[in-house]
Symmetry: C2
Subunit: 231 residues, 2 copies
């Protein structure tokens, strides 16, 4: 973890419209000055479940996993987040601590704005407050929907669903390098590592995917979709 040296002004940030479009110049300046950009290395823990919340954080670059650890020390991954995503918005208004852990799956750049500043603007700008509510609602929905989709499938369907998710939502192509291990893929779909690996092998044998280590190619996307729909 280190501070970024070349910080971009929010005005030229591609994620500006996600959140800040309705701010006044003055409010805008407040955000800009209370803002830092932090770089996390692959594997670094960015947010610890139970930790204090002082910053409002969102991704500018990279990929992270959001997860919870159970009493036996096993992780359950809730989502994979990409640039433009807010990674602790659901915790901020819990009036408590961070509700989920977040760690970097690759080098990740985070914009971090002091929570006080954000709260100040929420109080003075209702349009901004409503936008924040929209984002909260969206984030909650995405997590809940994903669990809904996963719970109604069995292993093959779950793996297929996640491969589609990675291809369609994260990489926007059928060929990519897996950002997570097979164990983490298992933690994402609530399955054992062995079963997850076996299913991937089966997909390979069946000619649905090609795979060389972490490099994945979804060669028969139509069949993958079919597995995803029923299995």
């Amino acid at each position: 973890m280190k501070l970024s040296k070349d910080i971009i002004n929010c005005k030229s940030c591609i994620y500006r419209n996600l959140l800040y479009e309705m701010l006044s110049d003055e409010e805008y300046e407040k955000v800009n000055t209370s803002r830092t950009e932090i770089i996390y290395d692959r594997g670094e823990l960015m947010i610890q479940e139970g930790g204090e919340i002082n910053e409002f954080m969102y991704l500018r670059k990279g990929l992270v996993k959001m997860y919870k650890t159970n009493s036996q020390g096993k992780d359950q991954i809730l989502t994979i987040n990409k640039p433009g995503d807010f990674i602790n918005l659901l915790s901020i208004f819990s009036q408590k601590t961070q509700q989920y852990s977040v760690s970097a799956l690759e080098e990740t750049h985070v914009c971090s704005v002091k929570l006080d500043t954000i709260m100040e603007i929420i109080k003075s700008n209702s349009e901004f407050a409503i936008r924040i509510m929209n984002r909260m609602s969206y984030i909650a929905d995405e997590i809940i929907k994903k669990r809904f989709e996963i719970n109604q499938r069995q292993v093959k369907g779950r793996v297929a669903y996640m491969l589609r998710f990675l291809a369609e939502q994260i990489y926007h192509k059928n060929e990519f390098r897996m950002p997570i291990t097979r164990r983490e893929l298992g933690e994402l779909i609530s399955m054992t590592t062995e079963n997850t690996i076996r299913t991937m092998s089966e997909f390979k044998k069946d000619g649905i995917i090609e795979m060389d280590g972490k490099n994945i190619h979804l060669v028969d996307f139509e069949r993958l979709k079919k597995v995803c729909e029923m299995g």
Copy 2:
């Protein structure tokens, strides 16, 4: 579904402090006049996934299930809601339609406030806006945590977890009448009806619970807790 005739003023409502404590007299009056109280019978559909959102709704009396229906027509229940709970708050800011269906498990009284009125107050009263955000965050968290807890258990643990939930969170005693069928219990824990019934029978045979139809008595709560912790 019918309108309630004896509507209580919000000022004497026991749920007032959940939400309205910081409103001005004027805002208060706005809520009170744009408010209706609706009574739903057991089994009635109160909110349909995909439907339009015009009202802000919360329970004053009764019990409901919040659920989603998958493409094969199977339901998955997300939560059971009780008086004081907001039943469409997560949908309101989705800028779309109702994200979940809600139906009454028993005679249920709902306070329904025009969404326009709520939005108006959010815009004029930032304290109220923040309270709404707190509630949203809480609701999302409860749903996500519950899925987290359920996913890491197998059938016995899941059934035990839900029985504890009903006893501790809903009825506040170890003896109660099940508000849902065994099928619905299965939909709540992502298991088949047969397995759910079998597990309940097993608990009975093992002397953990006593059961006569829908009447449940958790006679050996300590053992139930133990099953809940590991199984």
